[in-house]
Symmetry: C2
Subunit: 424 residues, 2 copies
């Protein structure tokens, strides 16, 4: 094999992740960062080894640079990332990206476009930060049919839920604290309403199942309604509440992909993944279940994955046939999806009953009429105003029936505080 | 790229793992098992799709078969596996193996031999069964300098320790139960004395640090002395007792590789890895810490890793330059090792003092004289025979000093029941 020159890397973005990538690449002799696009070229940067002459505020100078082999897009968001990546591919560059939103919304088109141009897009950093997940699925787990993913993919919400659990505090109190510490943004919607996790599970499920999942078919529910009381009740029942991104293929090949809070058994590894740590559990044949956990975000963990992808492409570039099958992301078939209302789940329900007299019987009857079997129903306490707190755990029942029952329980004058699905 | 024929696989061994591999490979169209060596050719086998005409009781028919591209060695032990692998390499075959003992004892020679012949030996299944660990270290984590591994690599001992913890039972009781259930062998030495875990950490540390670790330099201590009382005391202190295989590189590049029981904080993921599950935690820069967990043994989990390795080689075989850098296992440098007596550790010590009067003062003085600072010292109860149970947790102190102190405490007429290192 001929000895080739250093492989040339262009970076788009020199924020938290970009700086981590730049610093990490410094210690590798086969690659060299030759151009970096930043938003504000006048911002003072204190980065060892950074030659200011390679910094530009025009990202097209990176994607149009004929010397560059690999472009790492680290700015996030749909535009201008979308156009920059397409231009870079058109110009013959391979892509490494940490952009979960772009992949969830335009992955299909971008992967097809890359394939047409015989280029690859790698994106380990876009899903679960520093945790090795995409590469293992494409390589060492390639002998498996994985039919179930359960994952904690958002550090902000996991931090909030952990703090609520540890401190017994309300969502609002902990959110404020997380915002002050920089763990949650001023507008936390993207995290707390589950958008971020939905982007990630869309792409993760696509690559795992080998069928394209569309973001608009992913059911999404955030954590804003979780109460301190739900945390307590879950603990008593042997569970922790986590925001779980899940994807499941049933025996007919239909996909059920969602993000919502879930009561996770304390016996499961995911129940012990706390604060900003992320984790992905995969279940399939022949491997059984494996769980990969670690830092889901941050300068250096994310840089680990970006650099891993860059080095993987770099290792292939000297070869004559350099496209590894593991690097392909093109999936022509769309997955047939199951609507949440057609799924079967186990539920935790917290109800404040208007009147404690005979209320358990009435709730029991409503459930029975809707074909809902109960695992347990407990009346916890009766307040001075004659209301009663009731906690119900169902067997596995139809979502549609559950939603009907909830309506009827509320029509009967009771307040349904929480309806949270339970891990089975 | 020319379309090539199916890649031909030879299996040596059709026991638990071999059957799992054969069954799993059935669903892949680019590979074909063309010869299988078994010990007893007359043993009835109920395996779908198995053509008896490809089965032989002479393993050299597999390694000498000129049609075969990849040999999977699944018999374990040093001989005849060693000679079979060398013969196969000499005959131009790539190797996939699950043989941890062989790699720990002869890895250096075998990897060098493979490199000379431009062949690869892959061994994902040899370490932590179905958990993806070797491939991620070689690929997506390649941008990291990993300087610490803490792992649960033996399912039998983890099962025994979990059962002792859950049931409050003695080691002997649980071992017997584990033997009856088939989780422990009739002669359990290889597992309970830590040999199996030592084989695995030897190879795992070698690949992770990029320096060859020699098995004879790995400190090893089993679980046979762990008592139900130690489990209780650990629980009270916020720990679980696990058999931990660890490897650490210090700032001078010296390696400290060991297998011994350890008190692991309940806040750590490893404390929640129970029964036969295995787990590997890696710490390094830039990634921070990641933990990979899953089934460490068994027909199908092990098959997942063997098949993953076979498919990785198969994907490369059609190419003109087909040796992936990630597949290399040759490390010329031997690691400089630290002897256990020169290490610094935190300790849990359980002592039965002959006489409770002033004994805490005396133990405290012995520790102080040996430069051992104590985090806590608790006298738990005084028996009718005037003996006292004392539990000590030290700060981080020198192993050498600790061993001296233990001798002096015993010379003073006390009984040291347990000395177990504590995770820091």
């Amino acid at each position: 094999m001929e000895k080739r020159d250093k492989i040339k890397i262009g970076l788009i973005g020199l924020g938290t992740v970009g700086s981590g990538v730049f610093k990490t690449l410094q210690s590798f002799e086969n690659v060299e960062v030759t151009k970096i696009a930043v938003r504000n070229i006048n911002k003072p940067r204190n980065i060892d080894g950074l030659d200011n002459s390679i910094v530009t505020d025009n990202p097209y100078e990176v994607v149009n640079d004929s010397e560059i082999d690999i472009v790492a897009e680290l700015i996030g968001g749909v535009e201008p990332a979308y156009d920059l990546i397409k231009t870079a591919i058109k110009n013959g560059k391979h892509i490494v990206t940490a952009n979960k939103e772009l992949l969830a919304k335009h992955g299909e088109e971008l992967f097809n476009f890359a394939e047409e141009h015989n280029k690859v897009i790698l994106y380990e950093a876009a899903i679960a930060g520093g945790i090795p997940i995409i590469m293992p699925i494409k390589t060492i787990l390639a002998g498996n049919k994985i039919n179930k993913i359960e994952a904690i993919l958002n550090g902000t919400t996991n931090y909030i839920l952990t703090k609520m659990d540890v401190q017994g505090a309300s969502y609002e109190t902990v959110l404020k604290e997380a915002q002050e510490l920089g763990y949650a943004e001023a507008d936390p919607t993207g995290d707390v309403e589950g958008f971020d996790a939905a982007y990630k599970i869309t792409t993760l499920a696509t690559i795992t199942f080998g069928k394209r999942i569309k973001l608009e078919n992913v059911y999404r529910e955030g954590i804003t309604k979780i109460r301190a009381q739900d945390m307590d009740a879950a603990n008593d029942l042997g569970y922790k509440i986590k925001l779980i991104a899940s994807a499941q293929l049933n025996e007919n090949g239909q996909a059920d992909v969602r993000v919502h809070p879930m009561l996770v058994s304390k016996k499961a590894t995911l129940a012990h993944i706390d604060y900003v740590t992320n984790a992905v559990s995969l279940t399939g044949h022949p491997v059984g279940s494996v769980t990969l956990s670690g830092p889901g975000a941050g300068e250096f963990p994310t840089a680990s994955s970006v650099v891993g992808d860059i080095l993987a492409i770099a290792a292939e570039l000297g070869k004559s046939d350099y496209i590894l099958p593991m690097m392909r992301c093109k999936h022509d078939d769309n997955a047939e999806m199951i609507n949440i209302s057609d799924t079967t789940n186990k539920y935790y329900i917290s109800i404040t009953a208007k009147n404690n007299k005979g209320v358990i019987g009435k709730i029991g009857t409503i459930c029975a009429n809707n074909d809902i079997s109960l695992e347990s129903i407990v009346q916890r306490c009766v307040s001075q105003d004659n209301t009663a707190d009731i906690t119900v755990i169902t067997e596995q029942v139809k979502e549609k029936n559950m939603q009907n029952a909830i309506k009827q329980i509320e029509l009967d004058g009771n307040k349904v505080n929480s309806l949270i699905r339970v891990q089975v």
